[in-house]
Amino acid sequence: MKKKRKGVNYSKWGYIFIIPFILCFFIFSLIPLVDTIRYSFYEYYRSGIKEIGPTFIGFDNYTSLLQSDMIKYALNTVILWVIGFIPQIAVALLLAVWFTNTRKKIRGMQFFKVVIYLPNLIMASAFAMLFFTIFSTNGPINSILMSIGISNKPIDFMGSVFGTRSLIGLMNFLMWFGNTTIMLMAAIMGISVDVIEAAELDGCNSTKRFYYITLPLIRPILAYTLVTSIIGGLQMFDVPQIFTNGQGNPDRTSMTLIMFLNNHLKSKNYGMAGSLSVYLFIISGVLCFIVYRMTNNSDADSDRAIAKKKAKEEKRRR
């Protein structure tokens, strides 16, 4: 089939079909990337209406970023991500196990699936605006809390570090746990029925089955979820930006790295924005490499997993 009949060479069509993609990527991603890296070595910013630079200053931008609040913002980003991610993965695992349990017939499962995935499609900025409005001191949440007597004066949720961070974490949790649940469900349903039946015959209860069968077999997809979630967390911007109006209040404790980048871009400090981007590029480059290894090794991995499963089964049968 692969043999080219009558010596006609079709390979030029391959090139023609991928040209738009390659060209577009080259213009809108590669050139900007090179430009970004280049200006990270320059002093280049705007003060008032005067443009300063570009003058080559080597690694000065990088070192001054390290001395600035960048580390603090990186920590903020990690904290906000963790607050959202830990409940997200825990709840998603629990729900995925429940939903895929054939013994446990959950009524209205389709309804629950539709509802938990819903927040994922909501515009993050509108969602953050909504949270800001209903959690404000004279908003509906305070009104409800006061009318049922939990508190007698309005709680200033956005005034405390804990409140702001928890609310941002809650938003991230709500937006992503449905998505993770559905991904993990697909992974669990991919486990062969034979393995589960064999385990049941051997007297595995549901707790044991979870720890010794389900968890090890969905490990690759759990790792994938973790890494893609870290990449997503690194890009966290919409929710804290709108929620705190770009200030990262209180006291810039909810300022993320991309918000910091956004501030430099808005004030046209191209040098600093450039070197911050390079830092982000290096981190996400490492993460991309991990994802790349995972997606390309997954076949070999699952083959090995299947082989192992088979061996185990064989052992059991004897």
Partner: protein, 281 residues
């Protein structure tokens, strides 16, 4: 066998957790919709679980507000998201087909390269991107949000996997023997086969573009070109306490309800698609 009591307790716990989570997901939208139907004066008095009668009034206020042209914003968002979805799915399919069906020298290199940048965040090139489009004269226009979507590695990856599982190369060969040109074969034979994948990715790209905030906020300056997320952000930045709260709730409603309605119609399909993406990767 476990006793019936334990089983009953277990299913009680299961449903309690599920209902609680569903409540958390829906409660905020419930408050939003209820409050969008109430007047500013009503809202100041506190929360009420029942809707008011000011829905149309609030909607009219939003429609007539010159400083936050919400409906103009929805129109802009529709243009951007619609064109993005169309361009992105078409060209991703074309690229995937090019790499799937043909043998050429750099095939492997190109594929590896695209896989390597699969999850690269767009934010890292934002600074260069901003300078580039300014030089190209596209600053403050909708084009910089549309054209770059031609190169979307993740959509490409999905399309490529789909082709691998559903397009036998013998079909392409047969079309050749019947005298169909290569480009025509793609449009008339390959695209119809890819319809499910195209529809699914079109939905996800549309939603992604509809909700996108980072790049548009850097590119758009003038009011009549703003998309919905930027308008929401301006609303947040404005002197907020002097506003008609009914109108604010209505603006948020207008921004998110269209997507919810579309989702309710296509939910089964969308959820199946998410699961598919999970298995593929």
């Amino acid at each position: 066998m476990k006793s019936a009591g334990i089983n009953r307790l277990r299913s009680f716990v299961t449903y309690t957790v599920l209902i609680l989570l569903s409540f958390m997901c829906l409660f905020f939208f419930y408050i939003l919709i209820i409050n969008a139907t109430r007047s500013h004066a009503d809202l100041q008095k506190g929360f009420s679980a029942l809707p008011g009668k000011y829905f149309l009034e609030n909607l009219r206020n939003v429609a007539n507000d010159g400083s936050f042209p919400m409906f103009r914003g929805i129109f802009n968002s529709l243009i951007v998201s619609g064109s993005t979805a169309a361009l992105c799915t078409y060209f991703s399919a074309l690229t995937a087909y090019g790499l799937y069906a043909y043998e050429f020298k750099f095939k492997k290199a190109v594929f590896t390269f695209i896989m390597a940048i699969l999850v690269m965040p767009t934010q890292v090139t934002a600074m260069g991107f901003l300078r580039l489009i300014t030089k190209m004269g596209m600053y403050d226009s909708l084009l910089p949000m549309i054209i770059p979507s031609i190169a979307s590695p993740s959509v490409f990856y999905f399309m490529h996997s789909y082709l691998q599982s559903s397009l036998p190369l013998s079909l392409v060969e047969a079309a050749r023997i019947d005298g169909s040109g290569e480009y025509r074969t793609f449009n008339r034979i390959v695209l119809p086969i890819m319809k499910p994948a195209l529809a699914l990715q079109a939905i996800f790209t549309f939603v992604g573009s509809w909700n996108n905030y980072f790049i548009p906020a850097l590119v758009i300056q003038s009011k009549n070109k703003m998309t919905v997320p930027i308008l929401i952000a301006t609303l947040r930045g404005a002197d907020y306490m002097n506003f008609d709260m009914g109108k604010i709730y209505m603006m948020i409603t207008v921004a998110i309800v269209p997507i919810i309605v579309v989702y309710l119609f296509l939910s089964k399909y969308i959820i199946a698609g998410v699961a598919l993406g999970g298995v593929k990767e």
